[in-house]
Symmetry: C2
Subunit: 478 residues, 2 copies
C-alpha cells in the first residue's frame, strides 16, 4: 500500500522519532477543537523541524499521492485540521522559534509553531505588540493563525491577521520553497501571494516562516462595562459609538444566557438580571483615552445603559477574564457546543441579535450569544448534546437559518473561523458557483495532485482537466 | 482578420459611439504616464457603461483571441496600461458613479472610473475619508488605484490600497461576473480573492465595482518642515521618529536637487541651501497632535534639523503643494523623467539615500530624490533625454543598480507603481524563478487564453500545458 511505503520514506528522511504511527498518537490527531465534524485516523503524524524537512515530506507525499493535513495547535473551529482521507498529519509544532524581532522596522519573523501569546510575551520588552488576538491566543500557533486568518477581540480598531502578515516562506505542493512579500509595508512586485496564502486553510502550501508587522504598545487604556435591560438597545449603542467617530480597541457583547453562565462559572459579580452587557476598551495616549472614555459613557447612557468604568488594572483584567471565559463557561453547560461566527455589517448587529434569539425559540434550542459586536462578528453558541439525534437535527436547521440571515443582512458565513469542513456545503450560498469555481481553479493550479488538506472547502477532485466541474459532481446549490 | 470581425461585434453589442477606431483616438491610448516603455497602437478603444457591457466585450475578445488592455486615467508609472500586442484598450472611464456611501458601516461602493479625489470630495460632508492618496489622486481612478495597489503619502500610518478594499465585482477572462468579499471587515469565506485582484495590474480580470473601507476624518493636524544640512542626518531622523513610538500620518523627504527644482518652479521660500528637508504631518485628536508635535520637534532637532511648524492651514497647504510639485517640477528640467519607486525597510533609508547619490555620481546622471521616507518608499528620479542614446544607456545601468541595492537592503523593486512592462525583466531578481512560476500558474488558471493585459509582468504565453516553462523561453535569471 502506498501509505506504508511513504511512511517508510518519511522515517528514512526525518528519522523515526519524528514520525508517529502508534494508534494512541494517531487518535490524538484525528480531531480538533471543532465539534460535530466527521474525521478519520491519519496513517502517520510527521513532525519536521525545518523548511528542508517540510519540503522533503511534501515531495514524498506527492510521489505516493498521500494526503497531507497541516496542523498547529488544533484550536481551529471549522474542522480545518481534521484528516478526512487518511494520509498524514503534518505537525508544525517543532518549528517554534522566534527568528527575529526588528523593533526599528516594527517587524518580527517567526516559525509557524510559535504560539501567538509567546510572540507577544517576547515582544513586550521592546514596547511593541502583534495585534491579532484570537480567543485561543494562549495556545494557538502563528501558523494556524495565518492559515485561518484569525480575528479576535481587537479586530474593530486593529484589523485581523491578514492586515499584519507581510511576508511568508511557503513550501508548495511540489516541494518548491518560495519566499513571498518581505519587510516593507509597500510592496507591489507582482501578485500579492502573501494575502492569497493567508486564510487558505492549508490547501495551497505549507507555511514555514512568517514575517509580521508590529505596532507600538498604546501607553494607556480604559475598560468599561455597560449593562443593558434590553438586547436591542445594546445593539443600537454599538452603531452609535462608531457614529460618534470613536473606534474602540474592543467592543464586545454578552447576552443574558452567556452572562449567567459565565457568572455561574467565575463568580465575578456580573449583572445576572441584565439582558446584555457591552464590554468596551479604548486605548492610546492618556489624553485620547480620557476623551474617548467620556464619549463612550455618554453614548452608552443615552441608550439606557448603566456604565461602570474599571477602576484599575485588576478590575479591568477581571472584566476581560469574564469575556474570555464565555466559551469555556458555555461549554460546561451541555456536552456539545456548536459555536458559529456569522458576521454582519455593524449597522445590522441589532437585527442579527434579534434574529438569533427568534431562531433559538423557533427550533427550541438553547443559544448563548456573545462576540465582537463592534465588527459585527457574533458568536451564537448552541448548547446541545451530539448523542441526541432529534435535537441535533434542530440544531443543524437553526445553524442554517442563522447563516441565511447573516447573508441576507449583507454579512458572511464566517468572520474568523474559516470554512474548512464545517461550513463547506454552505460556501456556495455566499460566493456562488462562480466564486467557488474560481477558488477551485486556483487550488488546482497550485496543487494539481490535490494532496494538501484534501476534502475541505475547496477540493479539486471533482474538477476535470480544464478546471470545469465533472458531470454529476454538483455542488450544494444555492 | 480576427480583430476587425471582433470590432464589428463590439459595435453591434455596445453601439458605434462606444467603440473608437479613428487613428487620432487610438494614438491617445497607445501610451500612459510611463516614459521609456515600448507601446503599440490598439486596434480599437472600447468604452462600456456597465458590468453587463464589460462582460459582453470580454466574451467577444475571448472568442476572437483579442488582447484586452484595461485602462482608467492612464496615470500609472509602470507601463501597466500600455497596449503591446494591438488588441483593444478597455476604458472604464464611463463607469464613474459613486454607488453608495454608508457612513454607519464606514463603507463606500464605487465604479472603477470614479476619480480618487472625487470620492473624497463626496465623502467630506459625512466626516469620513478614503485614506490611500497616490500623488495622482486628482486624476487617477479608483479602478486604476485597485489594479495597481496604489500607495501614496499617507502609507506610513494608514497603509495602502489593499488595506482598504473589502469587496470587488470582477469580470473574469471568460466573461463570468463574480462578487468577492463584502461589507464586513472580518470575512474568511474561502480564499481572499479580493486581495489577489488588488495589484494584479489588469491581468486577472476587469474590476467593475469596488467596496472600500473608510475612516473618520481626524479632527486636527499639524505639519512641520525640518531642514537638514546633511542627507544622512535626515535619513537617521526618520528611523528615530518611529523609535519614539510616533507614527506620523506623512513623513516625506526631498533632497537638494528636488528642493532647488521645486523652489525654482513655485517660489514658496524653500531652503535652497539645505541638503534635505523632511515634511512631517501628524493627525488625530487635538491632544495627540500637540503631544506628537513636541516629540517630533525634539527628535528632529536632535538630528540637527531646523524645524518650522506650519502656523496655519495656508502655510500647511503651501508646504504640501511644494511636496506635490516635486515630480512636475523635476519633469520640467529635462525632456525625459525616469521615476522609480525602489523601497527599503525604514531602518535602511539612510543607506539607500547614500547609495542613490553614489550611483548618480558613478553613472554621471542627474538624480532628484524625494519620496515617502517614513515607509522607506523613495522616488529617485532621473532627469534625462530619451533622444540621447548614450545617456539613456547610463540611465538604464543606474536604474539597475538602484534596484539591486534596494533588494540587497531587504527591500522591493516597487513600493507602489507596480511591475507592468517597465520592471518586467527585473521581477525574477526579487521573487525568484519559483515566485514567478507561481504567479504564472495563477495567471494561466484564470486567463488560459492570455487575453487580459498580455505581455506584462506575468505572461503565460511561454508556459506549456502543465504551467511549466517551455523549452528555450527562459526568464531573466538572478
Amino acid at each position: 500500500m502506498a501509505a506504508s511505503q511513504a511512511i517508510a520514506e518519511f522515517i528514512k528522511a526525518l528519522g523515526k522519532e519524528k514520525v508517529l504511527t502508534d494508534r494512541e498518537d494517531l487518535l490524538c490527531y484525528s480531531y480538533d477543537a471543532t465539534p460535530d465534524v466527521p474525521g478519520a485516523l491519519p496513517e502517520a503524524v510527521v513532525m519536521p523541524e525545518n523548511t528542508a524537512e517540510v519540503a522533503q515530506v511534501i515531495k514524498i507525499a506527492g510521489r505516493y499521492r498521500v494526503p497531507v493535513y497541516p496542523r498547529g495547535a488544533g484550536t481551529n473551529l471549522s474542522g480545518g485540521t481534521v484528516p478526512v482521507r487518511g494520509g498524514i498529519v503534518l505537525s508544525l509544532l517543532k518549528m517554534n522559534k522566534i527568528l527575529e524581532i526588528d523593533a526599528d522596522n516594527l517587524i518580527a519573523v517567526v516559525q509557524p509553531g510559535v504560539v501567538n501569546q509567546a510572540l507577544n510575551d517576547a515582544l513586550a520588552p521592546y514596547g511593541v505588540f502583534y495585534p491579532p488576538d484570537p480567543g485561543s491566543a494562549a495556545t494557538a500557533t502563528m501558523g494556524g493563525n495565518v492559515a485561518e486568518c484569525s480575528g479576535g477581540l481587537r479586530g474593530l480598531k486593529y484589523g485581523v491577521t491578514k492586515d499584519y502578515v507581510q511576508g511568508l516562506e511557503v513550501v508548495l505542493a511540489d516541494g518548491t520553497v518560495v519566499r513571498l512579500g518581505g519587510k516593507t509595508v509597500k510592496n507591489v512586485a507582482g501578485y500579492d501571494l502573501v494575502k492569497l496564502f493567508v486564510g487558505s486553510e492549508g490547501t495551497l502550501g505549507i507555511i514555514t516562516e512568517i514575517t509580521v508587522r508590529l505596532l507600538p504598545v498604546p501607553e494607556s487604556r480604559c475598560s468599561m462595562l455597560a449593562v443593558f435591560a434590553d438586547l436591542e438597545a445594546a445593539g443600537n449603542a454599538v452603531s452609535d459609538i462608531i457614529r460618534h467617530k470613536v473606534i474602540p480597541a474592543t467592543l464586545e457583547i454578552l447576552d443574558k444566557v452567556t452572562i449567567r453562565t459565565v457568572e455561574d462559572y467565575l463568580h465575578i459579580g456580573l449583572p445576572v438580571e441584565a439582558e446584555a452587557i457591552l464590554l468596551v476598551e479604548t486605548d492610546g495616549i492618556k489624553e485620547v483615552v480620557e476623551k474617548e472614555k467620556e464619549v463612550l459613557r455618554r453614548v452608552l447612557e443615552k441608550h439606557g445603559a448603566l456604565v461602570r468604568i474599571a477602576a484599575g488594572e485588576q478590575e479591568r483584567d477581571q472584566l476581560w477574564a469574564g469575556r474570555r471565559a464565555a466559551l469555556p463557561a458555555l461549554a460546561r453547560v451541555k456536552p456539545t457546543t456548536v459555536l458559529e461566527d456569522a458576521t454582519v455589517p455593524r449597522s445590522q448587529v441589532t437585527r442579527m441579535l434579534a434574529a438569533i434569539r427568534e431562531i433559538g425559540q423557533k427550533y427550541n434550542v438553547l443559544i448563548g450569544n456573545f462576540g465582537h459586536a463592534g465588527d459585527g462578528n457574533l458568536h451564537p453558541t448552541i448548547l446541545t448534546d451530539a448523542r441526541n439525534e432529534e435535537e441535533m437535527e434542530r440544531v443543524h436547521r437553526a445553524v442554517e437559518e442563522i447563516f441565511k440571515k447573516a447573508l441576507e443582512l449583507g454579512g458572511t458565513l464566517s468572520g474568523e473561523h474559516g470554512i474548512g469542513l464545517a461550513k463547506k456545503r454552505f460556501l456556495p450560498w455566499q460566493v456562488g458557483p462562480e466564486g467557488l469555481a474560481l477558488m477551485k481553479k486556483i487550488k488546482r493550479a497550485l496543487d494539481p495532485l490535490n494532496i494538501l488538506n484534501p476534502g475541505k472547502f475547496v477540493d479539486s477532485a471533482d474538477l476535470d482537466e480544464n478546471g470545469e466541474k465533472r458531470e454529476g459532481e454538483g455542488e450544494t446549490g444555492r
